[in-house]
Symmetry: C2
Subunit: 230 residues, 2 copies
């Protein structure tokens, strides 16, 4: 399988998805036909979101169509070279993927060779569950199980920082709560600007910031650049 | 109905629940028999959590028992003067309240005159739903509907701040996503150290920091100290 799972969409001082361009380009091969899934977008229309991504990726000469614009969404996934899933609200994303009946078709398409590209909520969706999302549960996704395309549980936008004086839980504390309930899990704190690339059965960490691996009853493990997960 | 809904448990430089002591004392009247619900606690045992609260509130001479220590949890709620619900993970809290069959009994007890005291996740639980929680969905609560004791949807630990450079959504952006889906809702951003007190059918804002009211398609409204919600 072939996946590119990005922590987020934009870095300070750069354009939307700009940091992802060379990474995505390196993993494209001859694939150009993209189905974009904008369901995580809530405060922008799905049309506008699709246009934004089309503009951001213009230099890659992709043919990008929004899934919501297709008469037969499942067939569209089946014939896509690339399934691209944008960030936003993970609960909204999963709920609409379920309602459109896309969970199995996406999984099958990626297993057959389509490239899966997701950022933020889109990276969460590729995991076994969305239980490591940072988003607000604005809609009931009717179960937290997701695509399960990788045996990794990613926390996107990972940071150790809190606003000064804030007493709410740190991100690590939230992840540790999950590890109490599911001590067999390994959660990857993926900082903004980093990604995980899966190619030829191997998963590799990309990006320049330290990423973190959280396991139950162990201190956080800092992952070296180019760390191989499997 | 009589409720005290606190944004959080602790302020910088003070002890656990210290800031809540005078507020809680003012609303106690003759009530002393407390059932404490520690289900939001995940990284501490429910026994330890109950002990911590007992110690923090010692000067109020309350009789505090953890709901998990009772043979008949529903009967315990029914005979409590005060139902107290601690913070932690809101998904865990709601899930266990459902599993213990406590949603209706708590609602009935409060309608009959028991004082409901909740902080953070415990304040969220009193709302119509938990859709304004900040917590990670570490467990499926099997529906987001909650106690619906107040016609307010509280976001506890509210802040406009993000860590420097962080590209993830602001709290207001997350709340605005919910308002796109549910434009009839009014969401209250309750900063740490503030509370909402409901007495004699009236709900009043307490605390010294500005709180915020978010409505669909309107700029955020700053609420004055002592604002009356209804």
């Amino acid at each position: 399988m072939d996946l590119l799972l990005l922590s987020n969409s934009v870095l300070p001082g750069t354009n939307y998805l700009e940091y992802a361009l060379p990474v995505l380009k390196a993993q494209l091969r001859t694939r150009r036909k993209v189905i974009f899934i904008p369901f995580a977008g809530v405060t922008q229309s799905w049309d506008a979101y699709t246009d934004k991504v089309r503009l951001a990726l213009a230099e890659l000469s992709l043919q990008i169509t929004g899934i919501h614009q297709m008469d037969d969404a499942r067939a569209a996934i089946d014939s896509a070279d690339i399934v691209m899933v944008g960030g936003g609200n993970t609960f909204s994303l999963l709920k609409h993927c379920r309602d459109y009946g896309l969970i199995d078709p996406i999984r099958e398409a990626v297993k057959k060779g389509a490239l899966y590209v997701g950022w933020s909520a889109g990276a969460n969706l590729a995991c076994p569950t969305i239980r490591t999302t940072n988003d607000m549960p604005i809609i009931d996704p009717e179960g937290l199980d997701a695509l399960n395309l990788v045996p990794l549980q990613i926390n996107p936008h990972f940071t150790h920082a809190l606003p000064t004086g804030h007493q709410g839980e740190t991100r690590e504390q939230r992840i540790r709560e999950l590890l109490v309930l599911e001590p067999q899990l390994e959660v990857i704190g993926l900082p903004e600007g980093n990604w995980i690339s899966v190619q030829n059965g191997k998963a590799r960490l990309g990006g320049s910031k330290p990423a973190w691996l959280f396991k139950a009853n162990e201190p956080a493990i800092e992952l070296a650049a180019d760390h191989h997960f499997y």
